[in-house]
């Protein structure tokens, strides 16, 4: 009774090591490996060996005389741990570390190069995940007005991602296009994971969650270029801005997914696209497709994304999206007397709406069928553009882990050319060599103002180096 804490401390320490003392906590009993055939005969633990408990002057005599039985392997590991700790305390740089011998019955495991590193650890410290995605594609087109035809386009994306604090993650994606001399931060945002149960908060520059594919980067698309209604009505790639976004998982039970995203973004007051009101019947301005997009500069965004599984094999998703805010658009009205362009900037309000539905069916051996449709509606106010809408329908069949084919049908109005529409149907084949490397072929036949029955072909190579992740991709 004179040294109750010492006795208690020792008992607790031994309880974690000794099966005899840890009968009430079997999960703390080390599971010893069983002999592997062909391995050297394991050293037989001496079950009856008395526990070599170091006598302590502070230990009462009754406790000191108590016999504790532990397996030899555990005892030897304990001794090695003590030696390692001693070596660590001396702190002599370069001091030889006692090699951690494998557990006796793990000899064969060790012989084949088993690592004893901590699970999940990597061989570096405090480095974020750094990755690079290269996306190269060649476009063939029968539309001779298309300035991008018969040329190679390359885009690179550098991802730097990591945790900066428990439950706080930082993602940066820097994108460069050497052909167009563009280089910039596409996304850079902090995510507070689990700010409260079911709530994530994202702050920084990021893609607004508008539409089912609104947050996907191009390398995650199931096609080689952005779908036409998104290009015409939303943005060339995505609605993006600096701001804050809240993702809240609604308390709808464990079988039904419902996430409400609410965000406020500012994309600066740069015009989002350029109109040609001098000749509204030609949305191409004589050059490549002039898809104006929304041009939203300051906007609020809301998306309700719902999903549930229908049995083990099917998943259905529905989404409603809405963005509203101030839009800026360049308006080319003609040429001045000196031949210079007359361009003014039009500003106004804009409402964008979207509805999407997806159905996925998983079959055996990694086969998967995906059916997806998205509809977008563009509704301007005080802008020199017209109310427009568009949709696409996508079917994708992954017939094994490495191959998938897709069929894409798109139809969209031009916001800058009242009454003009374009539609296209594409056949897509993707060969996924692994998670980081795929090749895609996309053949398109379509109609657009001034060019009916045009044909396009795209060959796309996407490569990835390093760990690169996006939420739910």
């Amino acid at each position: 009774m004179r040294y109750p804490f010492s006795v208690l401390g020792l008992s607790l320490a031994l309880a974690g090591l000794s099966p005899a003392l840890a009968q009430d906590n079997p999960e703390d009993v080390p599971i010893l490996d069983e002999p592997l055939p062909g391995a050297p005969a394991p050293a037989t633990p001496a079950p009856a060996a008395p526990a070599p408990v170091a006598p302590s002057a502070a230990m009462p005599s009754a406790a000191a005389s108590e016999t504790v039985t532990i397996p030899r392997a555990v005892w030897e590991q304990l001794l090695r741990d003590v030696e390692n700790l001693k070596a660590g305390r001396t702190g002599a740089p370069g001091a030889p570390t006692a090699p951690v011998a494998p557990a006796p019955t793990d000899a064969a495991v060790a012989a084949t190069g088993t690592s004893t590193a901590a699970p999940g650890s990597r061989n570096y410290l405090l480095l974020p995940d750094i990755s690079f995605i290269g996306d190269t594609q060649y476009l063939f087109s029968t539309d001779k007005r298309d300035e991008g035809r018969n040329s190679l386009d390359t885009e690179g994306e550098i991802g730097i991602q990591g945790y900066v604090y428990p439950n706080v993650k930082y993602d940066t994606f820097i994108v460069g296009n050497p052909g167009e001399g563009e280089f910039g931060v596409e996304e850079a945002f902090l995510t507070y994971l689990g700010a409260r149960k079911g709530l994530n908060v994202q702050i920084g520059r990021k893609f607004a969650p508008f539409g089912r594919t609104g947050e996907l980067h191009p390398h995650s698309w199931l096609y080689s270029r952005q779908v036409l209604p998104r290009q015409n009505l939303v943005a060339g790639e995505a609605l993006v801005g600096n701001g804050i976004n809240f993702n809240y998982l609604l308390p709808t039970g464990k079988k039904f997914f419902a996430r409400l995203s609410l965000g406020a973004f500012s994309g600066g007051e740069e015009p989002g696209g350029r109109l040609n009101t001098s000749d509204p019947s030609d949305p191409f301005e004589g050059g490549g497709p002039n898809r104006v997009g929304a041009g939203l500069s300051r906007f609020y965004n809301a998306r309700l994304w719902m999903g549930t599984s229908l049995g083990q094999k099917n998943e259905i998703e529905l989404g409603l999206s809405h963005a509203r805010g101030r839009a800026f658009i360049e308006n080319f009205t003609g040429f001045g007397e000196d031949g210079s362009e007359i361009v003014d900037v039009a500003a106004g309000r804009l409402n964008l709406s979207g509805f999407d539905v997806s159905l996925r069916r998983y079959l055996r051996n990694n086969k998967r069928i995906l059916l997806r449709g998205e509809y977008f509606r563009y509704n301007p106010r005080d802008l020199p553009t017209t109310k427009s809408d568009g949709y696409y329908l996508l079917g994708n069949y992954r017939f094994n882990r490495f191959n998938d084919i897709g069929l894409l049908h798109e139809k969209s109005d031009f916001v800058n050319a009242p009454g003009e529409t374009e539609k296209a149907t594409s056949l897509i084949y993707t060969r996924n060599f692994n998670e980081r490397y795929y090749v895609r072929f996309m053949g398109t036949r379509g109609d657009r103002p001034g060019e009916s029955n045009y044909t396009e072909g795209r060959v796309q190579f996407v490569i990835g180096l390093g760990p690169h992740t996006h939420e739910l991709e």
């Binding site: 599971i31 700010a195 996430r259 999903g307 998943e315």
Partner: protein, 299 residues
């Protein structure tokens, strides 16, 4: 009278508390769901993100999985980069307790002695190599016990009230494995040292446990589909070394095994990839089946 009725009703409400809901466990793979159920028994309900006979390396995150994780008490993952897709789901779920290091987070690979850990640098040229080593440790029943140990620790962390039940289930699961180990060892003892070919390195922990030699794989490198040149070389080596055993994991295409069969004359068997029920017995049946298919392949 009125007051006494109210008191009675209040007491009744206090007494008739709703039964505590079962601890929700979300596992990344069906095997982990089965072991979690074995350890958790009736006190837990389990859900597996990957479904049986899906390739665990390539799971598409589904929104409905997010809501499962958001409402879970415990997440059990295989680790060793097998289920990296879990990170995406867990981040979207916004349940701080389940993030890495949280009390509801279990990496079942903790303490597993790993094999095939790359010693040099790895790149895409190495195939889909896992930096932390071969992640298919659950085909080794002894390592399943270790996974169970990690799971029971997690369960006790999140539901200490049922610790004694979890411990009892855990001991029973260990005992069941120990009892079956003798049968499995006896069944495979005649084939100790014999070489076998598989499609992927999925069964290597299992084969090593029972002393069977992994001779080669139909994949030239992990995750890379078989090439004609590789298969031809493999078949010629098999003929030279008189290798007769080929065991193909059930999720992979058979046509390459057919090709090897034609070229080398070795028959092949199709081995199980997943448990068929999320119970301790489901796990034992998986190993039973694997033992039987291995015997058939080598017999």
């Amino acid at each position: 009278m009125k007051l006494s009725k109210l008191l009675f009703l209040g007491a009744l409400l206090f007494w008739v508390q709703p039964a505590r809901a079962a601890t929700e466990v979300v596992a990344s793979t069906p095997e982990l769901a089965a072991i979690s159920k074995a350890v958790g028994g009736g006190k837990v309900s389990v859900y597996s993100i990957a479904k049986p006979n899906q390739d665990y390396h390539a799971i598409e995150p589904r929104p409905s999985d997010v809501s499962r994780i958001a409402r879970a008490d415990l997440v059990v993952r295989a680790g060793l980069s097998l289920d990296v897709w879990m990170d995406s789901l867990m981040n979207a779920a916004g349940n701080g307790n389940l993030n890495r290091g949280g009390r509801g987070y279990v990496d079942a690979s903790t303490g597993i002695p790993r094999i095939e850990t790359p010693s040099g640098s790895i790149s895409g040229a190495s195939g889909d190599v896992h930096p932390e080593g071969n992640p298919h440790y659950l085909y080794d029943p002894i390592y399943a016990k270790r996974a169970a140990q990690n799971i029971v620790r997690g369960l006790i962390r999140v539901d200490a009230g049922n610790a004694s039940a979890y411990r009892a289930n855990y001991v029973a699961f260990n005992r069941a494995i120990d009892n079956k180990m003798d049968d499995w060892r006896r069944a495979l003892a005649p084939y100790a040292g014999r070489p076998i070919v598989t499609y992927h390195l999925s069964y290597n922990y299992f084969l090593r446990r029972f002393g069977i030699r992994q001779y080669g794989t139909l994949e030239p490198k992990p995750g890379i589909p078989p090439s004609a040149a590789h298969l031809s070389q493999l078949a010629s080596n098999m003929k030279r070394d008189r290798v007769r055993g080929v065991l193909i994991e059930g999720i992979y295409p058979r046509r390459f095994a057919d090709l090897i069969k034609r070229q080398s004359g070795a028959n092949y068997e199709v081995g199980p990839y997943s448990v068929q029920s999320y119970t301790g017995q489901g796990y034992i049946n998986l190993i039973d089946n694997l033992v039987a298919r291995t015997r058939a392949a080598l017999g």
